[in-house]
Amino acid sequence: MTHFETTILRQSGVTLDSDLADTATARANIFDMTEATEAAVLRPKDFGGFPHDLRAALAARVARLAGDEDLALHFATDAEDRIALADPSTTDAELAGVLAFVDKVANQTRDITADDILALQAAGVSDADIVRLCELVAFLAYQTRVIAGLRLMQGVAP
């Protein structure tokens, strides 16, 4: 895989023929490492309390919260039976606390307090799973913003 085949460059429409091709190639290592991190948060060997299909659904949900429908569809293809959760207006009796936390970390980051972590712990989410959940949402926050920025550089309307 070359850096032009990574999720970020494909989603932002930067190709070998683009005006930005050389600029992107100068940072090829960054796009390649970003792709490795996407695999680490979406499809880790040790997935803890969040299997790969649920992670895909949550990633699609966070992409939608960032206003990126195309990226949401990229993740939603792996969401299997969890696909309903890819819609931010959907909740789930069993996962209500996790979904509320994901949505808040994604779009009201500044308002997170120690109480939000205590609520997850009280609901039985392990500390390791809290970290896993944060890494997934936090990675998506980065990825959506790099894609949005690259589209903007090429004059694609947000």
């Binding site: 600029t23 880790p44 779009n107 980051t109 500044r110 970290v131 926050a141 913003r145 949005a148």
Partner: protein
């Protein structure tokens, strides 16, 4: 006794985790490798030990972080710090803002820009280039991200090259990530005695 810091400062506080970090003595070989623990380097911060709970992410994220902030070429290191700081102020990550304001001041050998930012926020009195960088970083960090064509035009008008703009996109977005770990998983604290 310690108290939680709520105001922006360049005086870097301590970071107190809200979850229990991995205990070094109980770390797996994979965690030790990601933590880069060697016989001569056994000091690991609580932050990194906290992230070691998700060792697969930590192992790939650390080199990515360093490449975005420190690789040669493109945008200057100080301006990448400004991108990081703009995002951290939006997300109110007091710890991240302190670390990267301090680095900006060290690299520039001047505290004026970060003094202005902490005193006046969005209304800070900045030169055209810093203003364009800060506005882009700030709007890009919005949720959902809200940087637009006018912000891109302002960067180009201020003289930024495509390589510099890409580095700004990367460094500000990277802090969308870092803020969601640091601000969510812990508190910035100071001991009462040195408050």
């Amino acid at each position: 006794m310690s108290r939680v810091i709520h105001k922006f400062t360049r005086n870097v506080p301590q970071w107190r985790p809200r979850v229990t970090p991995v205990k070094l003595a109980e770390a797996t070989p994979e965690q030790l490798e990601a933590l880069q623990v060697t016989p001569s380097n056994t000091k690991v911060s609580d932050y990194v030990l906290t992230l070691a709970h998700d060792v697969e992410s930590l192992a790939v994220r650390s080199p990515l972080f360093n490449a975005i902030m420190y690789d040669p070429g493109g945008m200057s290191r100080a301006e990448r710090e400004l991108g990081a700081l703009g995002a951290s102020m939006v997300n109110r990550c007091i710890y991240c803002a302190a670390v990267h304001a301090e680095r900006h001041a060290q690299l520039e050998k001047d505290t004026r820009v970060t003094d202005e930012l902490f005193a006046n926020g969005e209304a800070a009195d900045l030169n055209e280039r810093d203003r364009a960088i800060l506005d882009f970083a700030r709007k890009s960090a919005g949720a959902p991200p809200a940087a637009g064509p006018k912000d891109m035009d302002a960067l180009r008008k201020a003289g930024l090259s495509d390589a510099e703009i890409l580095d700004l996109i990367l460094s500000s977005a990277l802090f969308g990530w870092a803020n969601r770990l640091m601000h969510v998983l812990g508190d910035p604290v100071r001991q009462k005695a040195d408050a």
